[in-house]
């Protein structure tokens, strides 16, 4: 976990992000398309952010996502988000929350707003090393228990705005 110190943002490996953050690459993507999937495995949520090659091999990526969910049958169910990255060589899971990150066992009409946030430094989970010769493509996937989930749903009453988003920000390694 990163902590704020007197001179900047300190990471677990003792590196410190300092100075003015003015030239980092920032991208975001949103969708209003509802997605559902027939199994508890990973459903691509049509959320993708392609980051250009990083400034340095020491850069880190802040990845944040939020998705609205609704069960399709008023039964029990669970959800979780997965962050995926492709570095042009292959693709990897940066993080998987699993199918029960938020879960109800009873039958009723349930709704979820689920978030995920991860600092990808090229070492977390299966994430490949960050390399200035490779762009990184991030995607968001949804897992569900019982195969009965709408992701990025528009079914939430009174909702205004995105039904799901994926946000990625490169923290310039040159500032660490």
């Amino acid at each position: 976990m990163a902590t704020m110190s007197g001179t900047g943002l300190t990471f677990p490996d003792s590196s410190v992000l300092s100075g003015i953050i003015g030239t980092n690459y920032i991208a975001k993507w949103a969708t209003a398309t509802q997605v559902t999937h027939g199994s508890s495995q990973d459903a691509y949520l049509n959320l993708e952010v392609v980051m250009p090659a990083p400034k340095t091999n020491n850069s880190k990526y802040l990845v944040m996502a939020e998705v609205h969910c609704d069960d399709t049958n008023s039964g029990g169910g669970g959800v979780g988000l997965s962050i995926w990255v492709d570095n042009t060589a292959s693709s990897y899971w940066v993080n998987q929350q699993g199918t029960h990150a938020d879960y109800y066992s009873g039958g009723a009409d349930h709704y979820w707003t689920i978030q995920s946030m991860i600092m990808d430094d090229g070492n977390v989970a299966q994430s490949p090393a960050i390399n200035t010769s490779q762009r990184r493509k991030y995607r968001l996937y949804g897992d569900n228990h019982n195969g009965n989930m709408y992701f990025c749903t528009t079914n939430v009453g009174g909702r205004i705005g995105w039904t799901g988003y994926l946000f990625v920000c490169e923290l310039d390694g040159g500032l660490f």
């Binding site: 997605v35 559902t36 999937h37 027939g38 495995q41 691509y44 693709s91 990897y92 299966q126 079914n155």
Partner: protein, 158 residues
């Protein structure tokens, strides 16, 4: 509980797809589900927004495998025809409509348990009568009245 026509139709659609896929032992993936029967066109049925997936995709769990879902070699033949699907969906939608509208208006089950606990046969009968009235109000062939006619307090609010 939202009981709008769109919500009931989308849930009926999801359940119909799920049951057919389960019976066929395959998977599915769809985007932008139809809001009503007129949205469920043959063009949607054949579009990239609606795909039946081969059985092996259900076991995919690596990032590389997940990325392949939806590509041509992961697509399974449709397990039924468009017409067969519509017939099943219509039946499901009709059933789902009366069941959801009844559920929203049945008296609380606590009233029945309270009557039993107290041995109050009059209260027990009142509960049964109230249930019967709801069943009569929404027969099994009941047609959804339209969103503007949903008068139960929170029927239109998630």
């Amino acid at each position: 509980m939202i009981n709008t026509t769109e919500k009931i139709f989308q849930n009926s659609f999801a359940q119909t797809v799920t049951e057919i896929a389960k019976d066929a032992g395959i998977g599915f993936l769809y985007n932008s589900p139809p809001n009503n029967m007129s949205d469920l066109t043959e063009a949607y049925w054949d579009s990239d927004n609606f795909k039946w997936l081969k059985a092996e995709t259900l076991d995919y769990n690596t990032a590389a495998e997940a990325a392949k879902v939806g590509e041509p070699d992961t697509i399974a033949p449709a397990p039924c025809t468009y017409a067969e699907f519509k017939t099943k969906l219509e039946a499901k939608y009709t059933k789902e409509t009366y069941q959801r509208l009844r559920k929203a208006e049945y008296p609380p089950i606590e009233d029945y348990l309270d009557a039993v606990a107290k041995g109050d046969t009059a209260q027990e009968q009142a509960y049964k009568d109230a249930c019967t009235a709801v069943k009569t109000k929404y027969p099994k062939d009941y047609v959804h009245p339209g969103n503007s006619k949903l008068t139960k307090d929170f029927s239109k609010i998630a």
